[in-house]
Amino acid sequence: MIIVALIEFLQKHLKAVVWICGVLLALLVVGDFLLVDKEHAHTKAEHWIGFWSAFGFIACLLIIFVSKWYGHLGIMKREDYYGDE
């Protein structure tokens, strides 16, 4: 099965995969700064280097931590809370 073989190949070389991903991410940020035309930007902030990278990362953290905080306010209940399923 080609999908399984591919997954297991990637898992076997996990360290290399992580390194390659890291390099690609760095290239993306640098490439965006040097090569991409910012004419379509809507705000000044978007001209900063790595603006959208930071935006994505911070958005991700915000979503995780704010949601977890909200959930622990008493929103999350045991599965038998309603007693009917």
């Binding site: 940020v29 705000t43 990278s53 935006f55 994505g56 991700c60 915000l62 979503i63 995780i64």
Partner: protein, 597 residues
């Protein structure tokens, strides 16, 4: 009744199919399950623009067939989804599943082609009353309750809609045509109709029914449910409420709300259901922005959404069907066992996350761009934030915690897990094809959009770079904080708490104080009634004994047998009664349409 020329409504094909399918068996049924949706889809694709299927009914002129660009883009995708959903569910032996699904699609198409509020309302209710069977047919105790809650909420929404229609009819001096309302000067009727629509679009606080129902329905039922109700509502909003300002903040709230609950969710299908709220939020915001680009975006996103969300429900549904499990805490590590289901779900996940070359990329960005163009920057940035959450959950959390991560499978689950039957694989493969095709070849979708020409170009260097940065750095966050995201065996309270708990309150009142009062009244009645009866019986005994005996005996027998029959009718399951009612409705509809000829 007057009639117009012969015009076959696509819904008629599906309703006829729904009536026919219980009588066909074996290979012929499999053929029918493909043929009927294909015929309906072909009929939709062949429709000419114009107004058809008008019917004079008493004082009203009803319009069943308003065909224009807006109705066609929605009709087309509903027809396509019906074909693929039916293919996915082809192995299901019970015919009620197919009949209910087709009646439901017929309702959706009926709304889409309706030219006036009366026809719209008729089909709106057909949708609610047929789709509830997709939940009940799951057959569990929980699904029974879920179905009733679903129906209750939708009946309320329907009443609001009907109330609005009647008020509008009165206020305008008899206008019941369905078109753009005066969104700048809304009156009570506008708000009531809007509530009816946004309840079906699952706009908070009217959204509680959606995660409840879509996680509790049958495997194939959810595939249908996730496509039709909310997107038909989006159609209705595009038609009637384009440019209504309040929809922008409501849509953005939806987009974020769904994302927040998805973090907490442990049931894979419920997580996807919360992401429907999130994604439909983009469309609602698009309708609120209301410019040509925004409406195009809402339509394009509805189109793309139906396909990738259907695909995601198919993928997680196949896990549920094969293993009987849908919770992350009971799954994990299944990539070896269900590789195809994984691959297709991943394609759905990349599409909903709006990765370049996948369908979401060319549709979602239209709405966000329209927001920036209208200088609604804050709202647009919040929509961008929500899109990070979309990738976080649907693109990463769902695949990771089902197919990778810690293996939480019991031995039984693990042994049962394997890729689903060929028809399900085929349906997922075709869905995947469309998700990628739409993303790669934009004219296919853009040529169908209502406002032409479409001058939007998604594949600019800036947009591609911006999207990749957001998504890939979200992935970094996901893997760094993986431990935070490990699902827990919990459920999350949502607005359904209100009616589940108030319902419980009503039940308590009914069982405690009311029942006590009832018993007391019974006691009083028995005491007084019996005393009176004893006296009167004595005085009339002789007369009774001799004269009326024969008559009364006969009467008593009749009463008892009638009572018995009534009692049985009452104790029969309410679903059976509702089913009969829906069946009658379908027959009536068929009759009406037949009389059109």
């Amino acid at each position: 009744m007057a009639m117009s020329e012969l015009w076959i409504h696509p819904s008629v094909i599906l309703l006829a199919g729904a009536a026919l399918v219980p009588f066909v068996r074996g290979k012929a049924r499999s053929a029918l399950l493909l043929l009927i949706p294909l015929l309906a889809f072909a009929r939709i694709a062949s429709l000419d623009h114009g107004t058809f299927g008008t019917l004079q009914f008493l004082d009203w002129k009803l319009t069943f067939g308003r065909v224009d660009r807006l109705s066609q883009v929605f009709g087309y995708i509903m027809g396509l989804m019906c074909v693929l959903g039916s293919l996915y569910g082809m192995h299901v032996k019970r015919t009620a599943d197919h009949s209910a699904a087709w009646c439901y699609v017929a309702g959706s198409l009926g709304v889409i082609y309706a030219g006036d509020y009366l026809v719209l309302f008729l089909f709106w209710e057909l949708m609610a009353f047929s789709s509830v069977f997709l939940i009940w047919l799951r057959g569990s105790k929980a699904s029974l309750g879920i179905g009733y809650r679903y129906l209750l909420v939708h009946v309320l929404g329907g009443l609001s809609l009907l109330g609005g229609i009647i008020l509008r009819y009165q206020a305008t001096g008899g206008d019941y045509s369905f078109g753009l309302v005066d969104v700048a000067n809304p009156d009570l009727s506008t708000w009531l109709i809007l509530i009816g629509f946004i309840l079906n679009a699952a706009v908070p606080p009217f959204h509680g029914w959606l995660p409840d129902a879509y996680s509790g329905a049958t495997v194939t039922g959810s595939v249908f449910l996730c496509a039709f109700t909310t997107k038909t509502a989006i159609y209705a909003l595009c038609r009637g409420f384009a440019g209504m300002d309040i929809l922008v903040p409501l849509g953005v709230i939806m987009a974020i709300y769904g994302v927040v609950y998805a973090v907490l969710e442990n049931d894979s299908r419920k997580l996807l259901a919360y992401h429907i709220i999130s994604q439909v939020g983009y469309m609602v915001a698009g309708v609120g922005i209301g410019t040509q680009l925004a409406i195009n975006g809402a339509c394009a996103h509805a189109f793309a959404h139906i396909l990738y969300k259907g695909l995601l429900f198919m993928g997680t549904g196949s896990v549920l069907m094969m293993t009987g499990k849908s919770k992350f805490t009971e799954l994990g590590g299944l990539y070896k066992k269900m590789p195809w289901a994984f691959a297709f779900t991943l394609i759905g996940g990349l599409s909903i996350s709006a990765f370049p070359l996948f369908s979401g990329f060319v549709s979602k960005s239209m709405i966000v761009s329209a927001g920036f163009e209208e200088h609604k920057n804050t709202w647009a940035f919040l929509l961008m934030l929500a899109s990070a959450g979309t990738f976080l959950h649907t693109g990463l959390k769902v695949p990771y915690f089902i197919w990778f991560g810690k293996n939480n499978c019991s031995k039984e689950t693990w042994d049962l897990a394997k890729d689903p039957p060929w028809n399900m694989i085929a349906a997922m493969a075709i869905m995947s094809f469309f998700c990628i095709f739409i993303g790669c070849y934009t004219p296919y979708l853009y040529q169908m959009l209502p406002n032409q020409p479409v001058a939007y170009h998604p594949y600019t260097a800036y947009h591609v770079s911006e999207t990749l940065q957001i998504l890939l750095f979200t992935a970094v966050g996901f893997f760094l904080f993986l431990k935070k995201l490990v699902p827990t065996p919990t459920i999350s309270m949502d607005v359904d708490w209100l009616y589940r708990m108030t319902g419980r309150g009503v039940r308590w009142i009914a069982t405690r104080p009311l029942q006590a009062a009832d018993e007391w009244v019974c006691e009083v009645y028995r005491f007084c009634g019996m005393a009176w009866l004893t006296v009167s019986a004595k005085t009339s005994a002789a007369f009774d004994w001799n004269v009326i005996d024969g008559v009364v005996d006969g009467l008593a027998r009749t009463v008892r047998s009638t009572g018995d029959r009534l009692r049985h009718l009452q104790s029969a399951q309410l679903q059976v009664n509702i089913f009969s009612a829906v069946a009658v409705l379908v027959v009536l509809l068929l009759g009406v349409v037949y009389s059109l000829r």
